[in-house]
Amino acid sequence: MKTPVKHTIGEEALLGLLQKAGPQASQTLKSINERGLPTRRVEAWHYTDLRNLLKNYPDVGSSNEATAKTAMATCKIGLPGITLPIINGGYHPELATTLPQKILVASQCQTQDWGEIAKDDAIGLMNMGLASDGLTIIVNENALIEDRICLSHIMTDTKSAATRHRVKIGAGASLTLMERHLTANRVAAVTNTVCDLEVGDRSIVTWVIDQQMCDLATRFGQLNVNLGANAELTILILNSGGKLVRQEINVEVTGEGSELNIRGVNLIGEGAHIDVTTRLDLRVPDTVSNEIFRNVVVGNGHGVFQGLINVASIAQKTDARMACNSLLLSDASEFSAKPELEIFADDVQCAHGATVSDIDEDQLFYLMARGIPEKQSRELLITAFVAEVFESLEVEQIGEVLNERIDNWLSNNG
């Protein structure tokens, strides 16, 4: 009784691009042709109706050295550390910082080894169909990289870009890697980035996703992690821009004794729809994981958090916690949360908490009674609410950078 899907304008545009993309796009093309993009009926996209939200899918972008240089200058790229620029979906090795010997970076257009992509994994499918470039980063065993590596993705035009990176961190290595997503101009760009991260045994890794695209841009991100034994991984996420954003984090914990920390702040402005969806698959005993998300929604923004913790029956002695707290600052703002637990082992400690509220009137009164004007009091309380997430990080500078972004956003949107 199935009626054929009537494609939306966004889907039509995407299908057009996929048709041009060649054989790598055949699976994606077939899937989107038959099923369309996910709607609310697809459980994984319950609060992000991609079919209706994705209004357009512009042509695939390109860049040359000149545009790349301009873009980098506009975005003031050149912070301390190692910068690997990816402009309009293309990697520019000529503009990259020289790398230490312990790291190998290779740029490649991958057309093979995509692995199995689930039918509801719209980001994976779109990425597979359209990926034009990507980096393979291999970090040697026991390498201690002090400089942070920064994958700077910049869009300059109303174009689309899809990249897929593979990062393999050897056993006992330590490093900080930052994914930045920027727009050089106020353009309705669409980007799709999938990162596959393999964290070796005993390694210590901090992965930062810093997204501050303009208010017209659409971003799809997916981070797929495999966490080794006794490894420590910290994932920090800051979304402070974008019109339509969906960031997925999938972590498969396959090493005993590992520790995972996910901390995120989503600042959701007027007209924005920001969705962070995490999935933790705990497959081995004795792991600790902690997730904290703080969200601030202003105007008619819509924030979404979906978090799933799946504990396999052999994953005894798991300690997993998840918290999602949201502040709604306007009557038109909206937040939807779905923190899920799926537990098949009995000797575990699992908990999740979710709250949604406005600024606490008592706290506001306390500050105002001490002579602090209302606007300032509110800002103070909002800052305190989110800044906590990035406090006491081992990599201190990162916390500073992220907190600075939060301050900027608040002064523009507060």
Partner: protein, 489 residues
């Protein structure tokens, strides 16, 4: 003695048998197997229903035919063959209905006696006068007897089988039925509309505090029979009623279907307290047999400051698929949901609630305690949402799960949706197993392990048990203990 053989038998089965697992040999009259327009006409004719009712049923049937079975719940079962189910079964001799309790088949009365349901008013009257309960007993597809009707009528309360209400109070039925759960709300509600056979109808007039607890006992007796009951409770302005519901079914190797619809309506300042102890046959240890319990329960708090309280103790059924919900439409209305869901053996439970905040200053509270043992899967699925105009909505949700044994699963799937900045939603969920410290403490004081676990579990669910009416609280506590027997060791 062969120890091995004995240990294969689940102790719980025996107790369940003692409690309710006997099949009553009563001649019964059934509609032909399967579902068709003719079967619906047959049911309608059996019930002497007016023409409008038949049309309404047929309409529901046609809508049902176009619908798909929902697949989103975390339960798995073989596809139900609707052609193999008897949609109507009545103990023989019920065409006219009994006039007094003495007309009731003594076999039937014995059944209820064994179940411990106080059908005979005099027996009850001999007891404490204040603890009277009016009972409506539903056996397979028909209501067999309703007690205390006269006394209730004096207070203006209507408490009767819904089939009777359709004939005697058509204006009320027409006005309220499906106003909370529309015909095509979901697959099973549409099916229920087409084939429902009985259930209770309660109407509490303005300002009346129902003088006694109302109660319905449902029992599925016949083989391959589905039970489709429909309950409608209307509490007018300023009224109050407490309603209890209990269910049992005998042990059968085949799966039986139970698809009920319950609608509650509260007007201004009215309150309904709805308590359920569900003890349908859960199937044997290997998941053979048992009831498929697919129920739609929803309350509409229409009036300002009205209140609905759902309390449920779910220990039975092979599969439970049930979400008693509250639509908080009136300003200042309140919804509460207290639940204990115990699963053991191969049971699957997917249950929870929905609190939809539409009015201003509405509040809701959800306390859910899930206990999984054996190889069972126990899921809490709940939704809390605040509408754009529902200012100052408040919700507190607490879902705790307890795991006993490492083959079972406990899952939590909450949906939290705030479309209003003045909404204040709090949700917390925990999952853990029985604390070793607590167990050690009990064992050290000479309490055997099984008893110790029962003790700890009772502590775990105390918050919910407290909300049950006294008569039910004792039964519920016993049931939980029995359901968990054999899960330790």
């Amino acid at each position: 003695m062969n120890l091995r053989e004995e240990s294969q038998e689940r102790p719980g089965d025996q107790d369940y048998e003692e409690l309710s697992q006997f099949h009553t040999d009563i001649e019964s009259e059934k509609a032909p197997k399967g579902l068709s327009e003719d079967v619906i006409r047959f049911i309608s004719a059996k019930k002497n229903e007016p023409e409008w009712m038949l049309e309404w049923r047929l309409d529901a049937y046609h809508r049902w035919l176009t619908m798909d079975e929902p697949g989103w719940a975390r339960v798995s079962y073989p596809k139900i063959d609707f052609d193999e189910i008897y949609f109507y079964a009545a103990p023989k001799g019920f065409d006219e209905g009994p006039n007094t309790i003495d007309d009731v088949d003594p076999e039937l009365l014995k059944t209820y006696e064994k179940l411990g349901i106080p059908l005979r008013e005099q027996e009850l009257l001999a007891g404490v006068k204040n603890s009277k309960i009016a009972v409506d007993a539903v056996f397979d597809s028909v209501s067999v007897v309703t007690t205390f009707r006269e006394e209730l009528a004096k207070a203006g309360v209507i408490f009767c089988p819904i089939s009777e209400a359709i004939i005697e109070h058509p204006e009320l039925v027409k006005k309220y039925m499906t106003s909370v759960v529309p015909v095509s709300d979901n697959y099973y509600s549409a099916l229920n509309c087409a084939v429902f056979t009985d259930g209770s109808f309660v109407y509490i007039p303005e300002g009346v505090r129902c003088p006694m607890e109302l109660s319905t006992y449902f029992r599925i007796n016949e083989l391959n029979t589905g039970q489709f009951e429909r309950t409608l409770i209307i509490a007018e302005k300023g009224s109050y009623v407490s309603y209890l519901e209990g269910c049992t079914a005998p042990q059968r190797d085949e799966n039986q279907l139970h698809a009920a619809v319950v609608e509650l309506i509260t007007m201004e300042d009215a309150e309904i307290k709805y308590s359920t102890v569900q003890n349908w046959y859960p199937g044997d240890e290997n998941g053979k047999g048992g009831i498929y319990n697919f129920v739609t329960k929803r309350a509409d708090c229409r009036g300002d400051n009205s209140k609905v309280m759902w309390t449920q103790v779910e220990t039975g059924s092979a599969i439970t698929w049930k979400y008693p919900s509250c639509i908080l439409r009136g300003n200042g209305s309140q919804g509460e949901f207290y639940s204990i869901a115990v699963s053991n053996g191969a049971q699957q439970v997917d249950s929870g609630t929905k609190m939809l905040h539409l009015g201003k200053n509405t509040s809701s509270r959800i306390i859910s305690k899930g206990i999984s043992a054996g190889r069972s899967q126990n899921t809490y699925r709940g939704q809390v949402s605040a509408h754009r105009k529902s200012t100052d909505a408040r919700n507190f949700t607490q879902c705790d799960s307890l795991l006993i044994g490492n083959e079972c699963g406990a899952h939590t799937v909450p949906y939290i949706e705030a479309k209003n900045s003045s909404a204040q939603f709090e949700h917390e969920a925990t999952t853990s197993r029985i604390s070793e410290d607590q167990l050690f403490y009990c064992l050290q004081r000479g309490i055997p392990e099984e008893e110790a676990i029962a003790l700890i579990v009772n502590g775990f669910v105390k918050e919910v048990i407290q909300e049950l009416p006294m008569e039910f609280a004792v039964e519920a506590q016993k049931l939980i203990g029995i359901s968990l027997e054999g899960s330790v060791g």
